[in-house]
Symmetry: C2
Subunit: 333 residues, 2 copies
DNA sequence: CTTTTATACGTAAACGTTTACTCTAATTTT
DNA sequence: AAAATTAGAGTAAACGTTTACGTATAAAAG
């Protein structure tokens, strides 16, 4: 049988209140009894029951994290940051991957509510109205990572538009002036549209005429989307010398496609990615990309959440800096 | 204020016992009261408190998962399988990444104990004696994924030795007879040594003389390890025509290195990986590899655990089948 | 030496459930 | 019609903590 505080109390011949006080290092006991109790604890191998604690304290020291897909490289890097920070501050994290669309997110939200988590993180997960209503009712702090919303919920992310601007401008500065852009879905108001706009703006500011046929809008940010886009793009604009991809996966897809088509990167075609996933480094040639501080995003997000938890004050949203990681997928013109 | 079962009882003018019975769909109430109570529940927006439930039921509907590194592509694929299965069976999963070695695993184990998780999964995480002692005391079911131990703990994994055997033999059947092997650390009794032995055995069975200088033992299974091994291997054995890598990351590292050295894959050098991560597909050229059913491993593992939880019987360990995924990193000789 | 104050505890209620037990009234059996 | 059974409910204890409150003893103050 697993020992309880009662067993400890009995064994040490004190009341459970005293044991509890010692456990929580409050005042109200002598050094002698403390030692006695500590001994009993060790002897019985007692471990406090966090469930009982949670019941009375109304705090579970647990947060919930919602991801569209835990297994994407993006998510897992963020998750690591979250888990690190949470654990450092004495909290556990329950992961929920909401992948298979539909009502799954709502179900998870309810679950987290029943479990009485102390806070919730939406990571790259859209905050819909129906979700917002639920979290409002739950009355727990919420943080958005790598996304934002029309509601007043603190978020931490990079500035997608500016990052995309930087990427584009980097290419321009390298002497490219006929540049293609492979965007994700532009219905995506967070990671889709802003990156396209950053691209457009960079061209505009650098006095380069935008050509509509240089833009291809894909249905997603995945490898396949990039792979399948290159030939289409090249058909319409055979003369482009550089490509800005809205994600590293897209960029790697392009790399693959270029290889198949016998196009040399970076000699004949330059390409810049977005995210700085591990694969960017592993690609052939290693991919120049604009880095999101993924781990940092997770870490900061969790820290913001826990800060809200402790202090009760609302966290201020943060924009984390992006930066260009120069590797070998870009050549000077 | 968040409503409790008491509020529901009062609102519906019944006792809390009745509400509880209805909530748990037991017997002992009329259809009429049921409707009345259901109404009150909806009206108050009541959600049962899983913490209180956990306290009395001694079940938290939560399992803990230990990973050396959540953010590795391997882990995240497994995690997805775990999470899927667990959720389908009404359980949540707490992730713990034990990366930064040392006593962190032990700390996590204690945490999971305090939180009273119903079961624990060790995923690619070594089961040391000190861990074993703790989980023994905890008296919860444990499952090992992608690893095994000297203790009587059910596991689910592929047969590393045979998988490596298959990979090697595949190369042999393609006409290669001077084959290199880039192993992980052979101190690793799970993923290191067995794969090396599978390699040796395959050579032996196919009547190929083993050359010690064809084997390079690395300190890890990462990209860097592969990248930095190729030139070393080629120095000692310039004539090899094929390489078996102990992981996809290693293989991709080799690919990169080969590219830099101007060695054409697969024309001059064939290479087969291990794992079938997403990067295998994304590599240039796409990597032929022996696939571990990662998602499946996670799923089956979680299912085994939950089955133990429900039935109380010990699960039988499982070896899941591996298979060769043919892509384009291997040529016929 | 009495009175006050601080220290070191113990008692019991509370957290939100589940469930064994009890009770009443209705229904069925004999 | 009386007895036995059953359906529909309520009461209260239990789960393992924390904590407000009470109390006895010892130390400090007068």
């Amino acid at each position: 049988m697993i020992p309880t505080i009662k067993d400890v109390a009995k064994h040490a011949d004190v009341s459970i209140a005293t044991v509890s006080r010692i456990l929580n290092s409050q005042t109200g006991y002598s050094e002698k009894t403390k030692q006695k109790v500590l001994n009993s604890i060790k002897e019985l191998g007692y471990q406090p029951n966090a469930v009982a604690r949670g019941l009375i304290n109304k705090k579970t020291q647990t947060i919930g994290v919602l991801f569209p897909d835990v297994s994407s490289m993006l998510s897992s890097a963020i998750l690591k940051g979250i888990e690190d920070a949470a654990h450092n501050l004495g909290h556990s994290v329950i992961v929920c991957h909401t992948a298979s669309r539909g009502k799954r997110t709502l179900k998870y939200l309810q679950l987290l509510r029943e479990k009485r988590v102390d806070g919730i993180i939406f990571a790259s997960e859209r905050m819909l109205e129906e979700y917002y209503e639920v979290v409002q009712q739950m009355d727990v702090p919420v943080i958005l990572i790598s996304t934002e919303s029309s509601y007043d919920i603190p978020f931490v992310k990079v500035d997608d538009k500016r990052a995309s601007y930087s990427a584009t401008e980097y290419l321009v500065k390298k002497g490219h002036c006929n540049i293609g852009f492979i965007s994700g879905p532009i219905e995506d108001k967070i990671a889709g549209l802003p990156r396209l706009e950053g691209f457009k703006q960079a061209l505009y500011k650098n006095g380069i005429q935008l050509r509509q046929q240089n833009i291809v809008v894909t249905k997603g940010f995945g490898y396949e989307h990039g792979r399948d886009s290159l030939s289409f793009l090249l058909e319409r604009s055979p003369d482009i010398t550089g490509i800005v991809a809205a994600s590293d996966e897209i960029a790697v897809g392009v790399l693959t496609s270029a290889y198949k088509l016998g196009i040399k990167v970076p000699d004949q075609l330059s390409i810049i990615g977005y995210d700085n996933l591990k694969i960017a480094e592993m690609a052939i040639p290693p991919l120049t990309t604009v880095a999101q501080p993924l781990y940092q995003l997770g870490k900061e997000g969790a820290e913001m959440l826990l800060h809200m938890l402790i202090t009760g004050e609302k966290a201020k949203s943060k924009i984390l800096p992006h930066r260009i990681i120069e590797r070998q997928s870009i050549s000077k013109r």
